[in-house]
Homo-oligomer: 151 residues x 2
DNA sequence: TTTTTATATTTGTATATACAAATGTGTGTT
DNA sequence: AACACACATTTGTATATACAAATATAAAAA
């Protein structure tokens, strides 16, 4: 369905407006579908994102700052996301001995197991949207998005 | 900046994953910039979206259902968004006399004036991201996004 | 050493998202 | 009329976003 139909617009939209609406709407579709995958695991998309960042550390602890700057939403509240993960025993949290202002966050074995179980489902989700497009179209979409975002 | 740099990824990402991350991240950039435009007017992006839908009614009242289905985020809570707009006198809300289950929501003169004042800033925001791309690239981006979203 | 400044994180408040349950109203059936 | 069912909206609860203020610690300056 075209974006005008999705929002039931009755007027012709400028291409610059259509692209904005298309990106915002597509993001909603992606997120809704991803939330369904995560639902049985009782974690949110943002919590998943934190876990994924922690796994990427390969055993090294991450502090709040470094998690924050790797998040997609730059204004996420990492403290509270880590709080939730701590309650579920998916991460550990300790004051850094070298610099007591910092907090060392580590993913637990339980957290790693959850991510490993999710891995194939996440890949399936990513491929789902790409499956009817050829490599050239995918590369083109990616390049155009980056050109668009960087003004 | 490429998406890998934005999220400080150290590994090469599959194209299907890059596109997902690119869309999610680009949406955040668009929303953050738009929120700044709205800030002086003390309304949120979702509240703006409701006002824009109501103006599109051209004097006809809209009920909660029809507002909901025109929203970008299909799970927005229209009742509470309209509550906020009512407090600022940007809309009126009345029970529909023909069907008392329905609510008639109308944009006020104050609401219309706010939208009119915002119009040029919104267009400027839309054009900002498109300005370094030619018509063909813009059309191509729009088509690829729609093909992508519809699997 | 005390003060100032910078850094890292937490907390508070308002708003919005997500979803289920509750409420109120209209329609059709017996 | 009484009942069941569908429709439209509201309300409740948990989570997340957005942003400012508060707290704690470290480093630099006086």
């Amino acid at each position: 369905m075209k974006i005008e139909e999705e929002i039931k617009s009755t007027v012709v939209l400028a291409i610059s407006k259509k692209i904005i609406l298309n990106i915002l709407y597509t993001q909603n579709v992606i997120n809704d579908k991803f939330a369904e995958i995560l639902k049985p695991y009782d974690i949110s998309g943002e919590q998943y994102n934190v876990l994924r960042i922690l796994r990427g550390q390969k055993g090294c602890p991450a502090n709040m700052c470094s998690i924050q700057e790797r998040m997609l939403a730059k204004t996420s509240n990492t403290t509270r996301l880590v709080d939730k993960l701590l309650l579920k025993a998916l991460v550990t949290r300790n004051v850094c001995p070298e610099n007591r202002r910092k907090i060392e966050v580590l993913i637990t074995k339980k957290g790693l197991n959850m991510l490993n179980e999710l891995d194939p489902k996440v890949v399936e989700h990513e491929i789902f949207f790409s499956k009817n497009m050829n490599t050239q179209e995918l590369e083109s979409l990616n390049e155009l998005l980056e050109k668009y975002r960087n003004q």
